[in-house]
Point group: C2
Chain length 242, copies 2
DNA sequence: CGGAATATTGACGGCTGTCAAACCTCGTGG
DNA sequence: CCACGAGGTTTGACAGCCGTCAATATTCCG
């Protein structure tokens, strides 16, 4: 099961459920000590803390052990675009493994209390080069992430509000489900409507109307911090077609 | 001056104006032979040919010597998103240097007749690793391209039609100008309104109305294959603010 | 308990898509 | 040299999605 909000990582990486599904999965299974010795610290942050800043040099990368976060960029006029939501187990700023000398292409902010396992970028580049399997694994993850982000950005210009919202819900449920974060048909969802608006290129008012429509049509149920999907088939259909 | 539509590259890379401004600039200046021996062929294609296919393995990368092309992806419903326009001198599928084992993340199609200098991906990876300066140059170019694409995709959700069109025109004029492709305030522009629509997430009808508005306001002039910018200040202002 | 953050609802208007038709340009074949 | 057809551009009428502005309700948290 995914680590819940505020939970602390185990002392030894060998005992870490999250790590075995993380970017360094191949290594941690074969030799957890290799990860453990590279973990520089465990960082516990409260909600609403920006711990990676767009444009600044990147010297550390992270694994989000527990809690939620999100990556974002600012427009010149101050609005922000949320690029992706980061769930427990997700790597943070993985791109820097491929482009170690480039400044951060986005900022990252905690949405809830989070625990982060911190690694020096230098160490992890060394690890990546150590074995071909691990290198392929990291490079593959970086590529998939870039691909998914680019595809989502594409969608913004072409889908209706209800399609965008549905797509995001389907994606989040899938990603949470892969790591045991879904109970029955509901899951923890600490996302405000303002965050949805910033992620989907909508206003909070229209996000609210769209969620309301999905609720009135019996497709979802939700309250603060909780999302429940009542009709997966229809939600997926809307996500694909609208 | 940039190579014009249909022009053929010189026999020797040492004589190539385009190459000196291309991704392998540092090497070609110091030692043009290093590039020349890696050029596998010169490929001449007519307009409307797709020469790189999304999802297929990448074994060759290109420099677009003359003519225009564009990169794109398809949505499940058949619509397409143009990711970027490729101008004379631009590298094609540069990302593969960073992710050599990944399939192509997009397709590329010629807009006019084009001449392409073709290199084996393997050879260029070798070149990149040969010197630190060249490696940094290539990595930097790949990163900048990814950054620009991501930023443009972001914009699509947040800017009005006239803002998007203006931004694209400003960008194209800038990129063409950097390589001598602008005469006075006008330039060759072999882009159909349908392509603009696919790049900007609009319909052709609305692209037409938007261009018409810019023309009636005295900001641009255009006809088939030619674009002229009459009022740079206002165009830039619209591109930035709307 | 009080204030801040978040969610909800209503009224209104504009931007943009859709559908359709006409027009124009260019290359091609007769 | 003209006729023709395909591709591309332009214009009109209309509808609907979504933003804006504003007010109110609700929940959270100190």
């Amino acid at each position: 099961m995914a680590a819940s909000d505020g939970a602390k990582p185990p002392l030894l990486c060998a005992d870490c459920f999250v790590g075995q599904h993380a970017l360094y999965g191949p290594t941690i299974k074969a030799s957890p000590h290799e990860i453990y010795i590279r973990r520089r610290q465990i960082l516990n942050l409260s909600a609403q803390k920006t711990f990676l800043h767009e444009g600044e040099p990147v010297t550390q990368i992270f694994t989000l052990y527990s809690g939620w976060a999100f990556s974002f960029r600012h427009f010149t006029d101050g609005r922000r675009q949320i690029l992706s939501f980061l769930l427990p187990g997700d790597p943070v700023i993985l791109e820097s493994l491929s482009f170690p000398h480039r400044p951060a292409p986005y900022s990252v902010k905690s949405l809830t209390n989070v625990s982060l396992c911190v690694f020096a970028l230098r160490d992890m580049i060394g690890l990546a080069k150590a074995t071909e399997l691990q290198n392929e694994n990291l490079s593959s993850a970086a590529w998939k992430h870039a691909d998914a982000t680019s595809r989502r950005m594409m969608d913004l210009g072409h889908r209706s509000a209800i399609g965008r919202v549905s797509q995001l819900l389907v994606e989040i449920e899938r990603r949470l489900g892969e790591r045991g974060g879904v109970q029955g048909n509901q899951f923890y969802f600490p996302v405000r409507q303002e965050h949805l608006a910033d992620a989907l290129g909508l206003t909070t008012v229209y996000v609210n109307r769209t969620l309301d429509r999905l609720r009135k049509d019996g497709i979802i149920e939700f309250e603060r911090d909780r999302m429940q999907i009542m009709d997966h088939v229809t939600l997926r259909k809307i996500a694909d077609e609208e």
